[in-house]
C-alpha cells in the first residue's frame, strides 16, 4: 500500500504552526516513513496534487479572496481537512480586526502609523486579493479535524499526524486540547 499523501498550506497566520510542526525535530524522519509529504510552504511543491491527497492541513484564518481560493482548492483535493492552530480554528489574532473593520486596519497600517511619511497611501491594484472579514477555515469550507493552539504543541501535531497516517481520526481532548 502506498503511503498517504499529506499537503499543507498557510493562510492568514504567522507560520508559527508550521514552526511548531518542525518542532517535532527528529521525529520528522519517522513521519516521512509514514507519509508522503507533498506540497507545503517549506517544500518545493506549492500546490496539492491534482489527483488529490489524503490529508490537507491549513494554518491561518481566511482574510481575503486569495485565501478563499487556496482553502477551496485544498478542500477539493484532500479527503481529510485539518484546521491547524487558533487562526484556522477560530480566526485568531488577525480576526481582532473584525471588531473595527479592514478599512480601519489598512488606514492605521499604511497611512496613520508613525513610521509612514506624508505620501503614504493604501495599496490598490486589481492584482491584489480583496480583503474580507477574517474567518475560521470552517466558516468557508468544511473541516474534519480541529487542532487548536497558538501554536498547537509539537507533540499534539505529531500525535495527530501519526493517527491520520494510520487511517485514524485523532481525538484532540484532555491534555492535548489547548487553545491559547
Amino acid at each position: 500500500m502506498s503511503k498517504p499523501k499529506v499537503a499543507s498550506d498557510w493562510l492568514c497566520g504567522c507560520a508559527g504552526c508550521h514552526m511548531s510542526l518542525l518542532d517535532i525535530d527528529e521525529r520528522i524522519l519517522q513521519l516521512v516513513e509514514l507519509v508522503d509529504l507533498r506540497s507545503t510552504p517549506i517544500t518545493d511543491l506549492k500546490e496539492p496534487d491534482e489527483d488529490g491527497v489524503t490529508v490537507g492541513i491549513l494554518e491561518g484564518g481566511i482574510n481575503n479572496t486569495y485565501n478563499e481560493e487556496v482553502a477551496k482548492k485544498m478542500r477539493e483535493r484532500c479527503k481529510i481537512l485539518v484546521a491547524l492552530g487558533d487562526c484556522a480554528v477560530f480566526g485568531g489574532i488577525p480576526a481582532m480586526r473584525n471588531f473595527f473593520g479592514a478599512e480601519a486596519a489598512l488606514q492605521r497600517a499604511y497611512v496613520d502609523a508613525e513610521s509612514n511619511d506624508s505620501e503614504a497611501k493604501i495599496p490598490a491594484s486589481v492584482e491584489l486579493a480583496q480583503m474580507t472579514h477574517v474567518r475560521a477555515v470552517h466558516e468557508v469550507v468544511p473541516v474534519d479535524v480541529f487542532i487548536p493552539g497558538c501554536p498547537p504543541d509539537a507533540d499534539v501535531i505529531f500525535y495527530a499526524l501519526v493517527e491520520l497516517a494510520n487511517g485514524r481520526i485523532p481525538e484532540i481532548k484532555n491534555d492535548k486540547l489547548h487553545w491559547h
Binding site: 477560530f90 473584525n98 473541516v143 487548536p148 486540547l177 489547548h178 491559547h180
Partner: protein
C-alpha cells in the same frame, strides 16, 4: 429525607435541596457557570441541564428542587449535546477568544468548561459586535466583551454586599453590565470591595493590580486572617516568586464567606510609603545608618537609664508580639506607661464592664447576619469595619430596620430607616431616653419609631464602635446593658484594629498624655502614625521607634529599627467577637529586616531580661468582653 437517584447512585438529602447540591453530595460533577455556592441559584446559563426521567425537557439542576424518587441522568448524549450547544452560544455571543484574554489558560471558568466538554472549536460564527471597555475604576476594569451575562457580579454586589451598584440594562444579546444608571464604573457608587472581580467566571471584570502577573497555576496561596481591622475576615494572599500578586476573600471562611473590603483587598497592595531597611541612630543631630547591634545597644542604654518611660505598641501586631512587648516594658523596664497606640479607646470602657460583671456580655458577629433590627451607636459601618456593614446592608431590603444614632458624618445613616441624634458625650441621656421610649413611648417621633422597631424585633442587635466606647461613661454602659437585656438584643462592639481585643486582654489601654516622659519606645510596626502621636512624642528627649515605613516619627526618633510589615510576619489575632485566628506570612522580609518579635527578643537580651513568652496564657488571664473561641 428525600431519596433520589443520580447517574445510578442513590442518595438521601433534605427537602429543599437542589439537584445540583444533591449531585455534589453524591460525588457527581455537573458543570456550572452562573451558579456560585454563596449566591441564590439563578438558572441563567443553562449549562447545568440534566435529564430528569419523566420530564419532557432538560432541566437546570441548580434551580430544580429534589423530589422523592427522582431519577436524574447527568451525562446522556442529550445532556452532553445541550452543554456543548450552550457553550457554543456563549462563545459566539461576544469576544470570547481566549488568545486575547488575560484570564485564559486556567483561570477562566468558561474556557475550563469547554475543555471539560472536549470542545475543539465552536460551530456558530462569532458576533463581531464590540462592546465598551470601562477602565475608569482604580482597581478594576469592566470588559463587557468578555461578559457571559451570568450576573454573578450583580448578584454578589446586591445579595452579599448590599451595595446594588452593578446591574444590567437592555435585553438579550444587547444586555450590558452597568454600574448604577450606566455611569463610568470609577464614578459609580462602587465601594471597591472587589467581590465582583473575585466572583466573575471570565475576564469580564479584571483586577488591575494582578492582571498579567500570574495565573492560578503560577501562584502560591497564604490563607490567614486579614489584619486591617478587628472584623477578622479570612483572606488568601496570592504571591509569585516572593511578590505580592493579589488578595482574595476565602469563600469557605465561616465569618466573611469570601467577602473583603477595599482595605483588606486592594489598599494593602497600594503601599507607597518608603520602606525602612537599615537601623538608624541619631549622631550629632542627624540620623545615621548603623548596624542592628549598635542600634539595639543605643536603644537599650537609653531606655534602661530612664524610669520615666512610655512604651506604645500598634494593635496591628500579633498577640505574640504584644505579650512580649508588655513583658519587656512592664516587667523588664518597669516603664511608667505601657499601652497600645489606640490607648484602649475602642475597648477600655467595655473591658472594665466585663471585669465588673465577671463574665463576657458581647455576642457573636454571626448574629448581625440574621437580624431584624440594628441599633448602631456612633458607628459608621460603611466607613470602617465594612464587612460587618455588608452583613447589615444586604438585609435592609428584606425589612431589617436600621437605626443609626450619631451626630457625626455617617454614611450608614443614608441607608437608615430611622436616624437619631446622638451628640458625643450625651450617651447616657440618649440611652436613658431610648429606654424610656421603649417602656412608655416618646413624643419624639423618631425616637418612638426606633423604640417600636427595636421592641418588635425578634433578633435585634446593638452595634457600637470606638467613638461610643471612648465617649460613654460607666453609667451609659450600664444603661446599654439594661437596654440589651430588656430587648433581648445582642451587643456587638466592633472595636478598632485587628488586635484591639488582644491589647484589651493584656490591659494595654492606658491613655498617653503629655507627662514629662524622658524616653519613649514606639512599636509602630506598619501602622500609619496619627498626628496626635507625632505631637505627643515631639517633646520626649529620647525616642526609639520600630517601624516598617518612614514617617515623621521615625524622622524625629533617636533610634530607628526597621521591622517587617503585615505580609512578612505570622501571628495570632483576636477579632471583635473572640475568634483567635492566625495571620500567615506571605513573602520574605527584605534582607536584614527582622520582625518586631525578633527585635524585641534581641532588645531583651541586651537588657539581660528574660521575657514571659506564654502569650496564650496571658491573653486568657482577663475576662473578655466576648467569649474567646480557641481555634
Amino acid at each position: 429525607m428525600i431519596n433520589l437517584t443520580i447517574d445510578g447512585k442513590t442518595i438521601d438529602v433534605q427537602e429543599g435541596t437542589t439537584v445540583l447540591e444533591a449531585a455534589e453530595a453524591a460525588g457527581v460533577f455537573i458543570p456550572t457557570l452562573c451558579h456560585h455556592p454563596q449566591l441564590t441559584p439563578y438558572g441563567g446559563c443553562r449549562l447545568c441541564m440534566v435529564e430528569v426521567e419523566g420530564a419532557r425537557t432538560l432541566q437546570p439542576s441548580c434551580t430544580l428542587p429534589v423530589t422523592d424518587g427522582m431519577v436524574i441522568n447527568t451525562s446522556t448524549q442529550k445532556v452532553l449535546d445541550a452543554r456543548k450547544f450552550v457553550l457554543t452560544l456563549i462563545f459566539s455571543e461576544r469576544n470570547h477568544f481566549c488568545m486575547y484574554c488575560q484570564v485564559s489558560n486556567g483561570d477562566c471558568e468558561l474556557q475550563n468548561r469547554a475543555y471539560d466538554e472536549g470542545m475543539t472549536h465552536w460551530d456558530l460564527q462569532p458576533n463581531w459586535q464590540p462592546f465598551e471597555v470601562d477602565a475608569s475604576h482604580p482597581f478594576m476594569v469592566l470588559d463587557k466583551n468578555r461578559c457571559i451575562l451570568c450576573r454573578r457580579c450583580v448578584r454578589a454586589c446586591g445579595e452579599l454586599v448590599g451595595n446594588y451598584t452593578l446591574g444590567f440594562e437592555e435585553r438579550g444579546a444587547d444586555s450590558l453590565l452597568v454600574a448604577d444608571y450606566n455611569v463610568p464604573f470609577g464614578e459609580s457608587s462602587c465601594i471597591s470591595c472587589g467581590t465582583c472581580v473575585q466572583i466573575c467566571p471570565t475576564g469580564a471584570i479584571i483586577d488591575r493590580q494582578s492582571a498579567y502577573q500570574g495565573r492560578e497555576t503560577d501562584v502560591d496561596h497564604h490563607i490567614g486572617v486579614c489584619v486591617e481591622c478587628s472584623v477578622g475576615c479570612q483572606r488568601d494572599v496570592l504571591t509569585r516568586d516572593d511578590r505580592l500578586i493579589r488578595i482574595e476573600g476565602e469563600w469557605d471562611a465561616p465569618l466573611n464567606h469570601g467577602l473583603l473590603c477595599d482595605q483588606g483587598r486592594f489598599i494593602p497592595l497600594e503601599e507607597d510609603r518608603s520602606r525602612l531597611l537599615t537601623p538608624l541612630v541619631r549622631k550629632d543631630g542627624s540620623l545615621k545608618a548603623a548596624t542592628c547591634d549598635e542600634a539595639l545597644q543605643v536603644a537599650a542604654d537609653g531606655l534602661a537609664k530612664e524610669t520615666n518611660l512610655a512604651a506604645l505598641a500598634s494593635t496591628r501586631l500579633p498577640a505574640e508580639e504584644l505579650v512580649l512587648f508588655k513583658s519587656l516594658f512592664a516587667e523588664g523596664l518597669k516603664a511608667e506607661l505601657v499601652t497600645s497606640l489606640e490607648e484602649g479607646s475602642a475597648t477600655a470602657s467595655l473591658a472594665k464592664l466585663a471585669d465588673k460583671l465577671g463574665k463576657p456580655f458581647e455576642a457573636s458577629l454571626d448574629l448581625l447576619k440574621d437580624t431584624d433590627a440594628v441599633l448602631s451607636l456612633e458607628l459608621d459601618l460603611v466607613a470602617e469595619h465594612q464587612v460587618a456593614g455588608f452583613f447589615v446592608k444586604r438585609q435592609l431590603l428584606d425589612g431589617t430596620k436600621l437605626i443609626v444614632a450619631d451626630n457625626k458624618k455617617n454614611l450608614l445613616a443614608e441607608k437608615a430607616t430611622t436616624k437619631l441624634p446622638l451628640p458625643a458625650g450625651e450617651e447616657t441621656a440618649f440611652l436613658a431616653d431610648l429606654l424610656t421610649a421603649i417602656d412608655s413611648g416618646s413624643v419624639d417621633a423618631d425616637l418612638a419609631k426606633a423604640a417600636v422597631s427595636l421592641k418588635n424585633a425578634e433578633k435585634p442587635c446593638i452595634v457600637y464602635g470606638s467613638a461610643f466606647a471612648s465617649n460613654a461613661d460607666e453609667k451609659a454602659i450600664a444603661i446599654l446593658l439594661e437596654l440589651a437585656e430588656k430587648l433581648g438584643a445582642a451587643l456587638i462592639g466592633v472595636k478598632g484594629n485587628a488586635n484591639s481585643a488582644a491589647a484589651a486582654q493584656l490591659g494595654l489601654e492606658a491613655p498617653f498624655k503629655k507627662n514629662g516622659y524622658k524616653a519613649a519606645f514606639v512599636l509602630l510596626s506598619d501602622e500609619k502614625p496619627s498626628q496626635k502621636l507625632v505631637k505627643s512624642l515631639e517633646d520626649i528627649p529620647f525616642v526609639v521607634a520600630l517601624a516598617a515605613y518612614g514617617s515623621q516619627i521615625t524622622g524625629n526618633a533617636d533610634v530607628v529599627l526597621p521591622v517587617t510589615m503585615w505580609a512578612e510576619q505570622s501571628g495570632t489575632y483576636l477579632n471583635l467577637d473572640g475568634r483567635l485566628q492566625k495571620a500567615v506570612k506571605a513573602v520574605d522580609a527584605p534582607e536584614g529586616v527582622l520582625s518586631a518579635y525578633e527585635t524585641l527578643l534581641q532588645l531583651s537580651e541586651k537588657l539581660s531580661f528574660k521575657p514571659d513568652l506564654d502569650w496564650k496564657e496571658k491573653l486568657m488571664e482577663r475576662i473578655p468582653t466576648v467569649e474567646i473561641q480557641q481555634a
